[in-house]
């Protein structure tokens, strides 16, 4: 177990190095002098000179990369050109909102996706299976920002049940927070539910065809017990592992969902930064997202390893 843990931990080092190169490299795509572009529209000579010195633009590229990585390792992701705040602080301020949205969305996805996958696998070839597959196709083909707009039209404009936009902290008013978050969370969870449904269906079909399930049936156990106690327990492991890897989809989707519902989270931060030409913030958001993805990927692998006795031996 320890061997595997060390090996797996070491394996993320080169990935992190290349991620850092990729994100640093983004800056090189800027046409012209980065200092002038990063200084914003005013191009104040003092700011340009400050940025030139801070980014070490007169130094060779490898040295600039080393300075940048050095800063990142010390938690210095640069400063926002617009607000002069440290990028890490800005991200830390917005992250909890997106984490709440992502967790609610994932809970909704699990609630819809797993039962739909079970029903589809158990009733293979029936109308239920057909319906669940249609649901998955719908989830995968609907742009979530369009679904968001349609839900605002129905639940906010027509019925007046839920607020169309805005965010209230759960520590201020939990009810208002949930009313504001339920639509965005559903919109975001919809596509993940479709993916989970497909994973669940294929994992369940595989497990349901195995010998031990046939034995359980032969013992005279009820179908409910065979499906929920014997089959689902084994099918769940790959489903949860694969589901955890949907974090990337959640974060990508959050960018659009937060834009539609005007939620002041991580996704809105990156979009606002793009339009304010606040490139350090854009780089910071990509770096944090990629690091989170790599960490979650690692945790999912370790969890899979921990619960699968065959791998441990």
């Amino acid at each position: 177990m320890l061997d595997y843990l060390v090996k797996r931990l070491l394996s993320i080092v080169p990935t992190l190095v290349f991620v850092s190169m990729l994100i640093f490299g983004l800056q090189q795509l800027l046409p012209g002098d980065p200092a002038k572009i990063l200084a914003g529209e005013d191009q104040d000579p003092t700011v340009v000179a400050y940025l030139r010195a801070k980014l070490h633009l007169d130094e060779p590229l490898p040295l600039r990369y080393a300075y940048w990585v050095g800063g990142v390792l010390k938690g210095d992701l640069g400063e926002s050109v617009r607000t002069q705040q440290p990028v890490l602080g800005l991200i830390a301020q917005k992250l909890p909102v997106t984490v709440e949205l992502a967790l609610l969305a994932f809970a909704i996805a699990l609630t819809i996706g797993i039962p739909a996958g079970i029903v589809s696998a158990v009733g293979r070839g029936t109308a239920w299976d057909y319906g669940a597959n249609l649901f998955a196709l719908w989830g995968l083909s609907t742009p979530n920002f369009w679904l968001g707009i349609l839900m605002i039209l129905l639940f906010s404009v027509q019925l007046g049940w839920l607020p169309a936009s805005g965010y209230v902290s759960p520590f201020e008013d939990l009810g208002a927070n949930l009313r504001a978050m339920i639509m965005p969370a559903f919109v975001l969870g919809n596509a993940i539910a479709a993916v989970l449904m497909r994973h669940t269906r294929s994992a369940m079909l595989q497990v349901l065809a195995s010998d031990y399930v046939r034995t359980a049936r032969a013992k005279g156990l009820s179908e409910r017990s065979v499906v929920l106690k014997h089959a689902l327990r084994n099918a769940l492991t790959p489903i949860i592992t694969l589901g955890a890897l949907e974090l990337g989809t959640l974060l990508s989707g959050a960018v659009l969902t937060e834009q539609v519902f005007t939620i002041p989270g991580f996704g809105k931060l990156i979009v606002d930064s793009v339009f304010n030409r606040d490139y350090a913030v854009v780089q910071g958001v990509v770096l944090v997202t990629a690091s989170a993805y790599i960490t979650l990927n690692l945790l999912a692998d370790l969890a899979y390893f921990a619960v699968n006795p065959r791998l441990r031996s």
């Binding site: 290349f18 991620v19 990729l22 707009i149 793009v274 854009v282 958001v285």
Partner: protein, 293 residues
């Protein structure tokens, strides 16, 4: 050997090539056929937009601002009096172009890199695989947004951003397929008769990994269409006043309470096109690679 000894004439199914057999399987899948037909319909809309669109998609009319659907404007008009139907028809061009060009970029970059990784192995494979992992660690749309932000907002840059962001999927797929094919006897035979490595890669390996690449490309077009609409929705794709479904939805969200038709049609168009590519992709997967069914 058994075929040589058999006295029976070969059946038509066994006689047909793998592509013909796949086409026959595809024809039996109703979903894929409907998907393919709708894709063809959209291609026709894009090609013949000047003749199909009833009006100029960028012509404003201050006397027809936010008019509900009527005989004069089937899909209604937008906030500056432009005909929504004409804009949806012309918007097909941006979406299809983005879908096809982005995936062409991903294929053009991903397949040779994946071939090199699988074929050369060793240090080259290790390096390519780690770089691919790094790209895959950045969520697709966030990487595309970052690339589009640094390159500057335009449809061309959006296509480059989407194409580059989707490349790692093709690198991985090609590499995995190459590794599967390299252990086959016919590759060993090609080596044994003295074919140079490049010839083996292009003449013997590449044709045998085309099927999964075609399937992945079809499904990737669906993702690329959504990604272009997403970037345009955020203002990073097609720039106004040129019509694009994503940017139409971005404007529509501000008028959702008094002009909901502005949001319905462009969204429905994205949904129909993406669904069709997904249906076609699923059908192609079943037809070209029945083992994955």
């Amino acid at each position: 050997m058994s075929a040589m000894l058999s006295t029976q004439p070969p059946s038509p199914a066994a006689d047909a090539g793998p592509w013909r057999r796949a086409a026959r399987r595809l024809r039996r899948r109703r979903g894929a056929l409907i998907g393919g037909a709708v894709v063809l319909l959209f291609i026709a809309l894009a090609l013949f937009a000047p003749w199909i669109a009833p009006q100029d998609p960028i012509a404003t009319s201050w006397g027809a601002i936010r008019k509900a659907p009527s005989a004069a404007h089937w899909f209604g008009t937008d906030e500056i009096g432009r005909d929504v139907l004409s804009r949806v028809v012309w918007g097909t061009r941006a979406s299809l172009l983005a879908g096809l060009v982005s995936v062409a970029i991903s294929l053009a970059l991903g397949v040779p890199i994946g071939l090199a990784a699988g074929f050369l192995g060793g240090v080259v494979d290790g390096l390519i695989s780690r770089i691919t992992d790094a790209f895959l660690a950045c969520p697709f749309l966030i990487l595309a947004i970052a690339l589009a932000a640094f390159l500057g907002p335009s449809l061309t840059n959006a296509m480059i951003a989407i194409g580059v962001s989707a490349t790692p999927i093709f690198v991985r797929l090609t590499r995995a397929q190459v590794l599967n094919i390299l252990v086959e006897d016919f590759v060993e035979a090609a080596r044994a008769v003295g074919n140079p490595p490049l010839r083996i890669a292009l003449r013997h390996v590449l044709p045998n990994i085309t099927a999964p690449l075609v399937v992945q490309a079809t499904l990737a077009i669906a993702s690329a269409v959504i990604a272009e609409a997403s970037l345009s929705f955020l203002g990073l794709g097609q720039q106004p006043p040129a019509p694009s479904w994503g940017s139409m939805l971005n404007t529509a969200k501000n008028f959702i309470d008094n002009a909901p038709w502005m949001a319905v049609w462009p969204g429905l168009a994205i949904f129909a096109l993406v669904l069709s590519f997904n249906l076609l992709g699923d059908g192609l997967r079943d037809a070209l690679d029945p083992r994955q069914r």
